[in-house]
Point group: C2
Chain length 209, copies 2
């Protein structure tokens, strides 16, 4: 019942997310972010606590929007190869259609923060490990329902998938052609026995560069 906040917190986090995504975390000072939001530094600190806390909020929000949400929707009946193929196609399209070619926020910040920032670095490390865990779980589902062979190397296959994802995220900063990114994904997934030929292209034909 006190004064209402002047700005929409969700919208503010979204704006900060894009600034950090485009310019990197270190380049986004509290002063610069406050100005971008049209509020004073005092209001920024009152609303978000600190730049580090804001970053954690940004990360959380980012993960509600990333293509890899679908990896958490897997159940015993999910056709995993189709899901993975669709997922990587979605990643390629998302990265290729981004006008700023910003890549992936989390992957961008690995270079910047892991081994450098004692608080945020480990957060990003955990993000990568969680991603590998999730991919492994997805592969376990595939093995359980006979889609792929369980050759006791699912962890390694999950690592290779995460590597493909990370690589695409960085490569897309430089290579902007969806077709080229898709060819990388297709080749690597095919080699891992995970490419689904009949996968939906989600109603969009592959775009030419």
């Amino acid at each position: 019942m006190g004064r209402a906040a002047k700005f929409d917190r969700e919208a503010a986090v979204e704006i900060c997310m894009h600034e950090i995504w485009r310019n990197g975390f270190e380049a986004c000072s509290v002063k610069a972010l406050s100005e971008k939001l049209g509020i004073t530094r005092s209001s920024f600190y009152n609303a978000f606590g600190s730049r580090e806390d804001l970053f954690l909020e940004v990360l959380a929000r980012y993960f509600t929007q990333t293509p890899d949400r679908v990896l958490g929707t897997v159940d015993a009946k999910t056709p995993v190869r189709r899901l993975l193929t669709d997922f990587f196609k979605d990643v390629c399209r998302t990265r290729a259609t981004d006008p700023d070619a910003k890549g992936c926020l989390a992957v961008n910040c690995i270079s910047e923060l892991v081994g450098v920032d004692e608080t945020l670095g480990p957060v990003l490390e955990n993000t990568v490990h969680a991603g590998i865990d999730r991919l492994e779980a997805v592969l376990e589902t595939a093995a359980a329902n006979g889609e792929i062979e369980n050759d006791s190397h699912l962890r390694e296959k999950a690592l290779a998938l995460q590597n493909l994802l990370i690589g695409l995220s960085v490569l897309s900063r430089v290579v902007h052609s969806e077709k080229e990114l898709l060819s990388v994904a297709k080749q690597t997934l095919t080699g891992l026995g995970l490419y689904d030929e009949h996968s939906s292209s989600t109603s969009h034909p592959a775009l030419t560069e």
Copy 2:
């Protein structure tokens, strides 16, 4: 016939390279680098011109030391699959044995500078494209001497190799086990038809994590 420089320029570039590699370019101010070198800012500017010029010198020096030098040694008789396999093994070992897990200087700086710094960003973009070109040339050699099939998709295969390399560079910031990195490389190379089973392990058995 004037005064001699007080410091060894090569050694200075090496020191700066490690600082930038470990902390990122933006974090390395002229003041900090000068202090690290034990010289004044004036001497820094006199010797290197600018921080951007220094960075270009650092990059050039870095590329004289990176594992991918071997890709330029290919001639018509080179067994390409062995060379590529050895190369990726070397990359995995180099990254895994780095006590700081610094990854790859050039790849680290992509996130930081591409799309952000108008001068240095394009330099790094060109580096990536040059890497793809070089891999494509290597694959053309392999096709010419019958090691692999020339299916008119060598450019795409080169892209997939570059993606593997970039992925490993970033992944190694988080995953420090050489064995795990090697498994990623092996799986992906195998899938691309480029893994050489009899490749030398360069007299070091794979280290366990």
